[in-house]
C-alpha cells in the first residue's frame, strides 16, 4: 500500500508553521508570516516538501489552521487552531487536560477531554496577555525580546504593574525605571502582569491538570515560571511548542482520511494543487 503523508499548515498572526508527517514529523518549517499569506503558504509548503524530499502529489491530505487558514488554496480542509492545538498537545502529552497557547498576537485556553477540545477561551483583541505585550514593553525598555524571560528570573522583587493596556504599561515601567526600580524587577513585573491576564482568561475554563503551555510564550522561561507561580504547580511544555498547531492539523488530516477509508465514503479534496498556485505569484 502506498505510504500516506499528511501536511499541517498553521498560519498564525506572526509565525507560519508547516509540518509533514507519516507516523511522526519528518519535516517542519517555521517562518515569519508577513502580510502575503497566500504566496507565503505556497513558499513554506515548498520548503517543507524540499526538506522531506517529497513531491506535493505524495501528500495524501492537507489541513490548514490558524488565523490565515482561509488563505491556503491547496488545503483540503480548514480547521480552527483550537481543535488543532488540542490534537497536537494530546499527541505528545495525553495526560494534559488544559492547554494554554500564548502567541504573538493572541492567547487561548483549551480544555481537553479524550484527546479532543471540548471548551475554549480566546483573547485576540487585546495585546495584554499576548507576546505583543512583551514585544512592545521590551522595546520601551531597550531590552532584546529574547532576553526578557531570563532577566525576569533574576529579579529580587517583582514590581506590580497596574495597567493592562500595553501602551500605558510601557509608560508605567519606563517611569518606574526612572524612579530607580531595578530593571529585572520591572521585567519580572511585566511577566507577572501577563500571567495574571492569562490566568484570569483561562479561569473561565475551570482549569484541570495537567496543564500544558504552547506557542511562543512557552519558550519564555520567565513567563513559564510566572504562570506556574499563579497556578501553584508546574506546567508541561511539549517538544516543539511552536509546532503543536501544525502537527495537530496534520493529525486531523490523518483522522479524516482514516474515517473515509473505514466508511468507504469518498474523500473530498481541494481542487487547486500547489503547482497551479505558483502560476499566480
Amino acid at each position: 500500500m502506498r505510504k500516506q503523508y499528511f501536511a499541517g499548515v498553521d498560519i498564525g498572526s506572526t509565525m507560519t508553521k508547516v509540518v509533514i508527517m507519516d507516523q511522526e514529523v519528518i519535516a517542519s518549517v517555521i517562518g515569519a508570516t508577513g502580510p502575503e499569506h497566500r504566496k507565503l503558504a505556497n513558499r513554506v509548503m515548498e520548503e517543507a516538501l524540499a526538506k522531506a524530499g517529497l513531491p506535493f502529489d505524495d501528500i495524501t491530505y492537507v489541513v490548514a489552521t490558524g488565523y490565515g487558514r482561509i488563505n491556503v488554496p491547496f488545503a483540503d480542509k480548514q480547521i480552527t487552531e483550537i481543535s488543532c492545538h488540542a490534537k497536537g498537545v494530546a499527541y505528545f502529552l495525553p495526560e494534559v487536560r488544559t492547554v494554554i497557547d500564548i502567541g504573538g498576537q493572541d492567547s487561548k485556553g483549551i480544555k481537553l477531554k479524550d484527546g479532543r477540545a471540548v471548551d475554549f477561551v480566546m483573547n485576540d483583541k487585546c495585546a495584554a496577555g499576548t507576546g505583543r505585550f512583551l514585544e512592545v514593553t521590551a522595546e520601551g525598555l531597550g531590552v532584546k525580546l529574547e532576553d526578557m524571560g531570563k532577566l525576569a528570573l533574576t529579579a529580587k522583587n517583582a514590581v506590580g504593574i497596574a495597567n493592562t493596556c500595553t501602551v500605558f504599561a510601557t509608560q508605567e515601567v519606563v517611569s518606574k525605571l526612572a524612579e530607580g526600580v531595578a530593571l529585572a524587577d520591572v521585567i519580572a513585573g511585566l511577566h507577572e502582569a501577563i500571567a495574571a491576564r492569562i490566568y484570569s482568561m483561562i479561569g473561565r475554563l475551570k482549569i484541570e491538570r495537567e496543564v500544558a503551555l504552547t506557542g511562543g510564550g512557552a519558550k519564555n522561561i520567565g513567563l513559564v515560571k510566572a504562570l506556574e507561580a499563579r497556578l501553584g504547580y508546574k506546567v508541561l511544555v511539549p517538544p516543539e511548542p511552536l509546532l503543536t498547531g501544525a502537527i495537530g492539523a496534520a493529525l486531523m488530516g490523518r483522522d479524516i482520511v482514516k474515517e473515509a477509508e473505514e466508511k468507504g465514503t469518498p474523500l473530498v479534496r481541494a481542487e487547486r494543487r500547489l503547482t497551479e498556485a505558483t502560476f499566480f505569484t
Partner: protein, 447 residues
C-alpha cells in the same frame, strides 16, 4: 476613605476637615461590625444606597451590608483586581459595573472557601441572610447583581423594591402622574416590610419607623444647610472630603450617629468660615464636580488639583439630599411613614423640574449645575466618565453641550477611568489632562 500605606510608600491623602478624616475608621468599624454580627447570628441584608429602605431596615434592626461600599473600599485600597478577575473567571463581562464584579467575585470566592478570602480588606464582606435590590431608573445592577449572586448563595432570598420617579417630559407635567408613582412606591415598601417580617421573624414597629423618618428629614435638612456653607470664599471643604462625608448620608442614614456627624461638620465649617480658613492657602480656581463617581483608588487626584490652586466647593455626586422645607409640598403633613418616604423620594428626583420649564431648551440636570455654578461662584466643571457605570456616567457629554448652549461657555474637563478597576487608570495621562485644564482656566481668568 484614607488609603493604607503600600510598599511603594503612597502618601496618606490629606483631607481639609477633621470630620472627613474620621470616616475611614468609621467605615472600618462598620464593616467589622457586620462580620461580627454574622457570627452573632444577627440578621444581615445586602443593601444598595438610595433605595428608600434605610429607615425601614434600621427600624427592624436589620444590619445592612453595603456592597457598593465594600467594593469602594477594595478599590481605594487598590485590592479589587483579584475579585474582578474572579468574576471574569465566572464569565461575567469586565464591562459590567465594577462594584458588582468586585462583589460577585468576592462572593464566589467566599462561598467556595467556606470562609473569607485570604487577607480580605477590613475583615471582608459578610454573608447575608437576605439581599435587597431595587428596580428603578437609577441602575440595572440594582436588580441584576443580587439575582446573579444567588448562584453562589441559592438559599438567600432577594427582594427588589420598585422605585421609579416621573421622568422629565414635554408632553405632561410630573404632577399629573406623581400620585400613582407614590401609590406604587408605597405598595412596594409595604411588600418590603412584609418580606423583612417574614425573614426576620420580627414585626415592624411603626411608631419607631415614624421617628426614624422624622430623623431622616432632619438629617437631610442639616446636610443641605451644611453643604450650603461651602459657598464661602475661600472654600472650606472640597469634593475630596465630600467623598468621605457622604458616608453617613448614604450608609448611616436614619441613625443618630449620622445626624451627630453632620452637626459636628457643620460646627467645624462655621468655625473655618469665621476664621477665613480656606482648604488651601492660595485659592485660584473654584470647580464643580459635575458628574460621575470618583475613582476610589485615585482620590489623591483632588490633592493634585489643590496643588494647582483648584478647589471643589460643590459636587453633584453623592449629594443625594435636598432640604425638605424647600419642596413644593409640606412634607410634615404626611404622617404615614411609608407615604412620607415615597413623597420625599419623588420630590427629591423632581426637584429641578420646575426650574427647567422656565428656561427654554433646558433640562433639570443642567439647571442643577447652573444653580451650583452661580451659588458657589464656579469657574469650571469637571466630570468623570467611569467605563463600567451607565447609571451616572452616561449623559455627561450631552449635559455639558446643553450647559454651554443654554447658559454659557464654561471650561470643562472629562476624566476617564473607572470606579474600582485600576487597570483603566493612567496616572500620567490624568495629570496631563488636569494640567491642560488648569491652563484653560488661567487663560479664561486672565481675559
Amino acid at each position: 476613605m484614607t488609603e493604607e500605606k503600600k510598599p511603594e510608600e503612597r502618601k496618606k491623602r490629606r483631607t481639609a476637615t477633621e470630620a472627613a478624616s474620621k470616616i475611614g475608621p468609621m467605615v472600618k468599624a462598620a464593616i467589622g461590625g457586620t462580620v461580627q454580627a454574622r457570627e452573632e447570628g444577627k440578621p444581615l441584608a445586602y443593601s444598595f444606597i438610595c433605595c428608600c429602605y434605610d429607615e425601614i431596615i434600621r427600624a427592624m434592626d436589620v444590619i445592612p451590608v453595603w456592597t457598593e461600599n465594600y467594593a469602594g473600599v477594595c478599590g481605594a485600597k487598590r485590592d479589587a483586581q483579584r475579585f474582578l478577575e474572579r468574576a471574569e473567571a465566572e464569565n461575567f463581562s469586565r464591562s459590567l459595573c465594577t462594584y458588582a464584579l468586585c462583589g460577585l467575585g468576592f462572593d464566589a470566592w467566599r462561598e467556595e472557601l467556606g470562609e473569607m478570602p485570604p487577607e480580605a480588606p477590613w475583615g471582608g464582606q459578610a454573608r447575608p441572610d437576605m439581599m435587597l435590590g431595587s428596580g428603578q431608573m437609577l441602575c440595572d445592577p440594582r436588580n441584576k447583581w443580587y439575582q446573579a449572586a444567588q448562584q453562589y448563595m441559592p438559599d438567600v432570598p432577594v427582594y427588589d423594591v420598585g422605585l421609579p420617579w416621573p421622568p422629565y417630559e414635554d408632553d405632561y407635567d410630573y404632577r399629573e402622574v406623581q400620585d400613582y408613582y407614590v401609590k406604587y412606591i408605597v405598595a412596594e415598601l409595604k411588600g418590603l416590610v412584609q418580606f423583612l417580617e417574614k425573614h426576620t421573624g420580627r414585626k415592624m414597629d411603626w411608631d419607631h419607623l415614624s421617628e426614624l423618618v422624622d430623623l431622616t428629614d432632619r438629617t437631610w435638612n442639616l446636610i443641605w444647610e451644611t453643604y450650603e456653607l461651602r459657598r464661602a470664599v475661600p472654600s472650606v471643604m472640597g469634593t475630596g472630603d465630600a467623598m468621605n462625608t457622604m458616608v453617613p448620608m448614604v450608609f448611616m442614614m436614619a441613625t443618630q450617629e449620622a445626624y451627630d456627624f453632620y452637626q459636628e461638620l457643620n460646627d467645624e465649617l462655621k468655625h473655618k468660615i469665621a476664621n477665613k480658613e480656606g482648604e488651601i492657602p492660595d485659592e485660584k480656581y473654584r470647580l464643580i464636580w459635575g458628574g460621575g463617581l470618583p475613582s476610589w483608588f485615585a482620590l489623591s487626584d483632588f490633592n493634585y488639583f489643590n496643588s494647582k490652586g483648584a478647589v471643589f466647593p460643590v459636587e453633584v455626586t453623592y449629594r443625594m439630599i435636598e432640604a425638605t422645607y424647600n419642596f413644593d409640598m409640606d412634607l410634615s403633613k404626611v404622617t404615614d411613614p411609608l407615604e412620607h418616604i415615597a413623597w420625599r423620594w419623588v420630590k427629591f428626583w423632581t426637584y429641578w423640574y420646575d426650574r427647567a420649564r422656565k428656561r427654554p431648551g433646558s433640562h433639570p440636570d443642567v439647571e442643577r449645575l447652573i444653580k451650583y455654578i452661580e451659588d458657589y461662584k464656579i469657574d469650571g466643571i469637571v466630570m468623570h466618565e467611569a467605563f463600567s457605570c451607565r447609571s451616572w456616567h452616561v449623559g455627561l457629554i450631552w449635559q455639558l453641550n446643553m450647559l454651554k448652549k443654554v447658559y454659557k461657555d464654561i471650561p470643562s474637563l472629562i476624566l476617564e477611568s473607572d470606579i474600582v478597576d485600576i487597570s483603566s487608570y493612567n496616572e500620567a495621562d490624568t495629570k496631563a489632562r488636569i494640567d491642560a485644564f488648569i491652563d484653560t482656566l488661567e487663560a479664561v481668568k486672565s481675559r
